[in-house]
Every structure is written in structure tokens, then in C-alpha cells.
């Protein structure tokens, strides 16, 4: 039943090593188009590693080795001839800690846009892009007067929304989010969750979360990982009510911490 629509991300036989340490072991995963998929599991099980393998940002480290394949919309992203710039235009990433660039709010929103366009465009066009992106993340009315302020001066919630907003102008199809709410207070968490839920449909979203309530509330499917392996992948409703594996049940009920 899970294979009915074309997959946004198709991971098969993925192994990943940090030096000698194997962090991912034979991961097979099919992430559906236009849905929110929650990635859950105890700390250190390889959730971030998997996420960071998809946009290949983990290659910055220099000692990461990968085998197997990852396809985004049918295209093998691990192939040698893949342009990282293109890959990262297609696959946006939101980090655990909001990490706006040391630029103004406006320049943050426009950073990727200008990068992939190869330069600035007219002021009017850019204004529209900024307004569009900030409106989509429900931030426009709040910060329209502060576009020229340094992004670092915003509240954490605003910063994290900005970090989502800056992905949108280049029209990615996949958004990877690594515990995007873990630095936020409960109220801000709810606001950002709502936002993520709104982006569903237009974007395929793979989100790592530690928060079971959040996974349950705001995802279509869930993937449970343990020690570098995928243990269970099911509809969220199903997994949280009748998990197939004992480990999954233990984790969901909080017996792992």
C-alpha cells in the first residue's frame, strides 16, 4: 500500500561510516511525496546522520564514507557527477539551532535566491520574493518593519521561521528538518509545528523529532530507528497505536528516554 505514489526520497542499502565507526547500516526507506514523515529514535541512533546524508552536508567532515544509494525524485544524489549546489537547491535543510547568516533579515531570505540566480535581481522583484517567503512562514506582518535588522536580533522562534523562509524562494521539493523545535519554548514549538504542517503538500518533509507528541500530532508517517538501522516504518496513526516491534513500543512509551 505504501508504494502507490512516486517516492520523494528513496534510500536503499545505505551504509555510512564516520572513519571506522559505522553509523548507518543497510537503511532502506521510501519517503512519500508531499507528506510529513517523522524520524524518531533514541539519541545517537543515526537520525541526523541519515538526514545529513541526503543533502550530503556530512561530506564537509571529510572522513565520511557512504555506500548504497539515495534517490531524490528518481535521481541518484550520491553519483559523482551530481552538483552539490543543485542538490541543495532541491533539498533544503533546517537545523537544530536556528542558524541565520550574519546578514540582515532581508539578505538572509534572499541569500539562496541570489546564489542560484547568479546575482541580484531588481529591487521590486526581490521585495516580492521576500514578502512571499516571509508570508508563507507567517512572519511577514511581524517583521516587515525589521527587514534591515541583523537576523541575529530576532527571537529564536522568528529566527527558525526565517531559516525555513530562506529555503522557499529557490523552490525546493524536499525539506529536511533536524529537530527544528528543540531550541524553542513550547509556544514557539507549536507555532513552528503549525507552519510545518501548512507546508505539507507543496513540500515533502522529513523531520527528526525527539518529541513524541509532536511526531504523533504533526506527521503522516513515522520511521523508528535504532542503532543505525530502520526498525519500523508505518503510518503515524498505526505506529503509535499498534507498533509492530517491541523496541518501537518501548521507545514510544518512553522506556528509552
Amino acid at each position: 500500500m505504501a508504494e502507490s505514489r512516486k517516492a520523494a526520497i528513496e534510500v536503499s542499502g545505505l551504509n555510512l561510516w564516520y572513519g571506522d565507526f559505522q553509523a548507518l547500516e543497510d537503511v532502506n526507506l521510501s519517503i512519500k511525496h508531499g507528506q510529513v514523515t517523522a524520524l524518531i529514535g533514541p539519541s545517537g541512533c543515526g537520525k541526523s546522520t541519515l538526514l545529513r546524508a541526503i543533502n550530503r552536508i556530512n561530506e564537509r567532515l571529510g572522513y565520511v564514507r557512504t555506500t548504497g544509494s539515495i534517490e531524490v525524485h528518481g535521481q541518484d544524489v550520491l553519483a559523482e557527477e551530481v552538483e552539490l549546489t543543485q542538490l541543495r537547491k532541491e533539498v533544503g535543510m533546517v537545523f537544530q539551532r536556528p542558524n541565520p547568516l550574519p546578514l540582515s533579515v532581508r539578505d538572509n531570505v534572499l541569500y539562496a535566491y541570489r546564489l542560484h540566480r547568479g546575482g541580484r535581481s531588481s529591487r521590486r522583484e526581490e521585495d516580492e520574493v521576500v514578502e512571499g517567503a516571509l508570508t508563507q512562514v507567517l512572519l511577514w506582518d511581524q517583521i516587515r518593519e525589521r527587514l534591515d535588522h541583523p537576523a541575529i536580533d530576532l527571537s529564536l522562534e522568528e529566527q527558525q521561521k526565517l531559516c525555513i523562509a530562506r529555503l522557499l524562494p529557490v523552490k525546493p521539493s524536499v525539506l529536511l528538518m533536524d529537530e527544528p523545535c528543540s531550541a524553542l519554548d513550547p509556544e514557539a514549538t507549536e507555532a513552528v509545528e503549525d507552519l510545518i504542517w501548512q507546508l505539507r503538500g507543496e513540500y515533502s518533509i522529513l523531520i527528526v523529532t525527539h518529541n513524541m507528541a509532536q511526531a504523533r500530532r504533526a506527521s503522516d508517517e513515522s520511521v523508528f530507528m535504532l542503532m543505525g538501522k530502520v526498525v519500523e516504518h508505518a503510518l503515524t496513526g498505526q505506529m503509535f497505536v499498534t507498533p509492530k516491534n517491541k523496541e518501537t513500543a518501548d521507545y514510544i512509551e518512553g522506556r528509552y528516554g
Partner: protein
């Protein structure tokens, strides 16, 4: 300290703890003396220089002549001329050229070491830079004299090679290692999350450096350059050996010049203590002191600016 006292109480009569406590006291004393004496020496030097030359510089020296006349004839009788312009221009031109050499060199090296080199290569390069920084200036002067001098004569077909060009290149190479170290520190202070964020948005390594890292490190880089300028300004031996040491208002990099510092070094030994000439040299010292002090202050302000901005 209080740690040791506590330790002593819990293990009564343990001699070893007693001796380590004494070593602790002694080490503390030595460090304290070192710190204090550095301050005392600086103050003493300042007072000494001021005492020897400040009165002369303020009341007797003709500042108009000193700043506008290229005639440095301190021993002409009965009317010596203390025109410092040629020396000031000499120092400025050598330092300026040195910066033209050192800034691209050191920034390039810092960017390579800080942003591109990894693992062992990076460690080796850092050690190499530190070794280069430790080469004594007289050795650089010697290189200027014996290597760069004939090279310039051959390359440009000029009669003398001990010129602004020579001293500038030597001084530039000499200042570059320290500037590299400071610039690399400034790059290292840029949070890695900035680089990661920009790369995840699709920026290439080079775009990240140009658009994110360099602007964030700007203040530290300015500080590195200013400290290099200060170094160039105060350098004596290498400049004395490589510049030709002739009082001269230069019109091209192929002219010999004389630096302020070199003038003091070369002449002070031959002046009578307390003479006008002697005091005039100390006035030059005061000028050097003021300039380097200002430059260091600016560098400090630049670094502080960087810290404050996050």
C-alpha cells in the same frame, strides 16, 4: 590555592602535598613577577625615552622643519638640520610596499590554512608559519643583502639593489607569518554554523568564504593588517640592511631610502649623550612610539569590535 589548603587538611602530615604547595607558591610568585616586570619595564622605557627627548621635541625641535624638510644633517656645524621628511617617507614607503606584499600573502595563507587545509597538512603548515615568524630580523636583512639585492640588479637591470623594493619585499615576507597567524585566528572565530548554513543553501566553498566568512572576520583581519603595519614601522635591522640607508626623498621603488628606526640604530652610538643630535634621535623614537601606539590601539579597537558583534 584554596584547593591546596583543603587538600592539606584532609591528608594531615603528608609531606608531598606540602612540597607541591610550595611549588605552587613559587610558580605563582614567578608568574606574578614576570607580569609585573613587563609592565614596569614598559613604563620605565617610556619614562626614559620621554625624559631624554620629550623636552627637546616640544621646546627646541623645529617641528616645521622636522616634518617638511628632507635634510637630515645632524652633525653640520654650527647649524645642524633635523629634517625628518626623508626618513618618514622612507619608512612609510617601505612599510607600504611591505603591506602590498604581505596582505595578499598572509590572507591567502590564512584562508588556505583555515578553510581548505585539513588534518596533518594543516598542522604542518601552522608549524611552518610559526617557524617563519621566528626567523630573526638580522637574517632577513642578510637575505636582503645577499639574495634579493643581486636578484633586483639582474632582474631590472639597475645599478643598486638595496632599495625600497628590496626592503619592502623583505619586510613583507617578514611580517606575513604573524599576520597569517592572527588572520587565521580571526577566521577560526567565525562560527562553523555559518559555513554549514551557507553550504546547505547551495553555496560553494569559495562563495562561503567570500560572502560569509570574510565579512564576519573583517575586524580580526583588519587587526592582523594593522599589526603587520606596526611591525613594519618598528622593524629596524632588516630595513637598515636592505634599504640602502641613504637619506633621500624617493621617486621610485628603485631608490634607496633610510628609515626612522634605522637612523636611530645607526647614529645613536656615535652621539654624545645629551647633545642635540642625541635628543633629536630620541624625538624620532617618540614619533615611532606614538605611531605604533596608535596602530596597536586601532588594532585593539578592531578586535574588540569583532568580539562585541557576537
Amino acid at each position: 590555592m584554596s584547593e591546596f589548603n583543603r587538600g592539606r587538611r584532609t591528608v594531615p602530615g603528608a609531606d608531598t602535598l606540602g612540597s607541591s604547595w610550595w611549588w605552587d607558591r613559587i610558580a605563582q610568585g614567578v608568574v606574578f613577577l614576570g607580569g609585573i616586570s613587563a609592565i614596569v619595564f614598559i613604563v620605565a622605557i617610556f619614562i626614559f625615552v620621554a625624559q631624554q627627548g620629550l623636552g627637546f621635541a616640544i621646546f627646541e625641535l623645529d617641528k616645521g622643519v622636522f616634518l617638511t624638510s628632507p635634510e637630515w644633517r645632524p652633525t653640520t656645524e654650527p647649524e645642524p638640520v633635523f629634517g625628518g621628511l626623508a626618513l618618514i617617507v622612507g619608512t612609510a614607503s617601505v612599510t607600504g610596499l611591505a603591506m602590498l606584499v604581505a596582505v595578499p600573502f598572509s590572507l591567502g595563507a590564512a584562508i588556505f590554512i583555515g578553510e581548505f587545509a585539513t588534518g596533518r597538512a594543516r598542522e604542518y603548515l601552522k608549524v611552518l608559519v610559526e617557524l617563519l615568524a621566528a626567523i630573526p630580523s638580522v637574517v632577513w636583512g642578510f637575505i636582503g643583502l645577499t639574495v634579493v639585492n643581486p636578484l633586483i640588479i639582474d632582474l631590472f637591470n639597475v645599478p643598486v639593489g638595496l632599495t625600497i623594493l628590496n626592503a619592502g619585499v623583505i619586510l613583507g615576507l617578514m611580517a606575513a607569518p604573524i599576520m597569517t597567524t592572527i588572520a587565521e585566528d580571526a577566521l577560526k572565530a567565525v562560527p562553523d554554523s555559518y559555513r554549514e548554513a551557507a553550504e546547505a543553501l547551495g553555496a560553494t566553498r569559495w562563495q562561503v568564504i567570500r560572502q560569509v566568512v570574510l565579512p564576519s572576520a573583517k575586524n580580526g583581519l583588519v587587526a592582523a593588517i594593522l599589526l603587520g603595519v606596526g611591525r613594519g614601522f618598528g622593524e629596524t635591522m632588516a630595513v637598515l640592511m636592505a634599504s640602502g640607508h641613504s637619506v633621500n626623498l624617493p621617486t621610485s621603488p628603485f631608490d634607496s631610502v633610510r628609515a626612522l628606526t634605522a637612523t636611530i640604530a645607526a647614529e645613536l652610538g656615535e652621539t654624545a649623550r645629551g647633545s642635540e643630535h642625541y635628543k633629536a634621535l630620541f624625538s624620532i623614537g617618540i614619533l615611532l612610539f606614538l605611531v605604533t601606539f596608535t596602530i596597536n590601539l586601532l588594532a585593539d579597537v578592531a578586535v574588540r569590535g569583532r568580539r562585541k558583534r557576537r
